[in-house]
């Protein structure tokens, strides 16, 4: 029997829990940013995403992503592990496995969930729930699982080409950023955007969400080492880049408007965590610092783009995750160092070949995420209609779709009557 390390398994399970926690964190990060009348709908979409992707993952998604490769071409896994059958076996192709496959299943499941959940930010305040569920289910199987296979499975075609993506700069970040752009284009702008006041209704909620994301990201990145002993580097680099990006974003705001904002600062933190995601195990302190600074500054500039383009990609998934993902993936090609792990990048004498692989991964992910998501989105929109009625949008999704209201903060609640248990 294969021998597992209890310590490594403890770390991977703890990390899986941490990554899970990122989704409620993301839900409130986004929930705080929308208007009061839509906050529950945002939370609902995130929790529905957890539920839908969780079930799909154990029943088929995991097997498509990490099952034995179909035909050896590196495009998709088979149904070998569907419903977690044969789960006592080893993960195909992975060297030096010190954790049971079932722990790897849950760890990777959380990645599938988080990535899908990010898309809720692109289509805030206007999506029908039923159509969203169909879309996100299809997206998880059709867009995410294959991409995870290509990059994360050792049998995937990009992995075999030598792409270095420690924890998902392509699979998670560029993927969500471009998919977000595509689905935002499909569903169209919010009524009144960009003319009307759409300010965040609860910034402290968003800041707490960002704090939870940062916390969870230690599991996300350092858990991806799949080993406690090798996790430390990823851990410290994650923190360094996140910190640097927070400062860089704030600095850009200081320069542009004279006043750094809190929402900007924590958005910078997220951008830094995004950018270090693919790189955290491959770079040193210099690399992590530079990647963070670059990501914070570039993403801060990128958020204004949508106003120029007239695209209501509402909560900046593209600007933060897309752009941050690009920075991180390409930075590996420059700052990757064999002293940490992996190959040397351009700045450490490794030449341009690693950078080439990274660029390939980024291009492929961009094309696939945008194209496939647009196709699925258009299909769902055509068949079911992804958008609520104008009246529902004005009244707010919470009342219109869910018959609930997020807050009742009056000193003494007034103005309603109960009907007994809805009978």
């Amino acid at each position: 029997m294969h021998h597992y390390s209890a310590g490594d398994t403890a770390w991977v399970l703890a990390s899986a829990a941490l990554v899970f926690f990122m989704v409620p964190g993301l839900a409130i990060f986004y929930g705080g940013m929308v208007r009061r009348k839509n906050v529950l709908a945002m939370l609902m979409q995130n929790f529905i995403t957890i539920a839908v992707v969780s079930l799909l993952w154990v029943w088929v998604g995991y097997s498509l992503a990490f099952g034995p490769d179909w035909g050896g071409v590196g495009l998709l896994g088979t149904f070998h592990f569907a419903a977690l059958s044969h789960i006592g076996q080893l993960v195909p192709g992975m060297a030096g496995q010190s954790v049971p496959q079932v722990a790897f299943v849950v760890f990777q499941m959380m990645f599938a969930i988080v990535t899908a959940a990010l898309l809720t930010g692109s289509i805030a305040d206007r999506a029908r729930l039923g159509a969203f569920m169909v879309f996100i289910a299809a997206w998880s199987i059709i867009v995410y699982a294959p991409l995870a296979h290509w990059v994360f499975s050792p049998e995937g075609w990009l992995a075999k080409r030598g792409v270095e993506d420690f924890a998902g700069g392509s699979v998670v970040e560029v993927d969500s950023g471009l998919s977000g752009l595509a689905i935002a284009l499909v569903i169209g702008r919010r009524r009144g955007w960009p003319r009307e006041l759409m300010r965040p209704h609860n910034v402290p909620l968003s800041v707490l969400g960002a704090g939870i994301l940062w916390f969870g990201w230690f599991g996300f990145n350092a858990g991806s080492a799949l080993s406690a002993g090798r996790a430390g580097t990823a851990f410290v680099n994650t923190n360094t880049a996140t910190a640097a990006a927070l400062l860089a974003w704030a600095a850009v705001e200081k320069w542009r408007t004279g006043k750094p904002t809190t929402l900007g600062a924590v958005s910078g933190a997220v951008a830094g965590a995004v950018a270090i995601t693919p790189a955290c195990g491959f770079v040193n302190t210099v690399g992590a610092t530079v990647i963070g600074l670059a990501a914070g500054a570039l993403c801060a500039l990128a958020v204004r783009l949508k106003f120029r383009l007239g695209v209501d990609e509402s909560l900046d998934v593209l600007a933060v995750h897309g752009v941050g993902g690009y920075v991180g993936m390409l930075a590996v090609g420059f700052f990757g160092t064999a002293a940490a792990k992996g190959l040397n990048g351009l700045l450490y004498g490794g030449g341009a070949s690693l950078l080439g692989h990274q660029a390939l991964a980024v291009l492929v992910t961009t094309a696939w995420a945008f194209g496939a998501t647009a196709a699925i989105g258009l299909a769902v929109h055509k068949l079911m209609g992804m958008r609520v009625s104008p009246e529902a949008e004005v009244a707010g999704l919470d009342i219109s779709l869910h018959e609930e209201s997020a807050y009742d903060l009056e000193a003494l609640s007034i103005g309603g009557r109960a009907r007994h248990g809805g009978e």
């Binding site: 009307e196 004005v394 009342i399 103005g415 009907r419």
Partner: protein, 112 residues
């Protein structure tokens, strides 16, 4: 002087503000209120407990103006706030005996 009070749909506020500006109104006071009338409220459900919420969020706009301007102010609000759907709201006018600008102590028209 007159006090014109309007209870309107919240999302018409900006139009009303612009319309008032157009007729030369320089100031106003706005507050959030709950309205009850022909426009129905809505139902909310929490774990099987169903509540009928009777009230609809409205915005109250108050403008003090010269007697002679009252009609124009009313009409400006009226046309800016109108959507033609139930619940567009009411406007009422009340006589004002005195108006004071706190900063300067000016009285009457000078206080506007």
């Amino acid at each position: 002087m007159r006090l014109v009070t309007a209870v309107i749909k919240p999302f018409r506020l900006q139009e009303v503000q612009d319309a008032l500006h157009a007729v030369g109104v320089a100031g106003m006071t706005v507050s959030e209120v709950q309205g009850f009338g022909r426009q129905r409220g809505h139902t909310e459900v929490y774990r099987g407990a169903e509540y009928q919420v009777d009230f609809v969020p409205k915005v109250r706009v108050e403008v003090v103006c010269e007697d002679a301007d009252a009609d124009r102010v009313v009409e400006a609000i009226e046309s800016a706030a109108r959507t033609g759907k139930i619940g567009d709201g009411k406007i009422w006018v009340v006589p004002v005996e005195q108006l004071v600008r706190v900063r300067t102590g000016q009285r009457g028209s000078a206080a506007l």
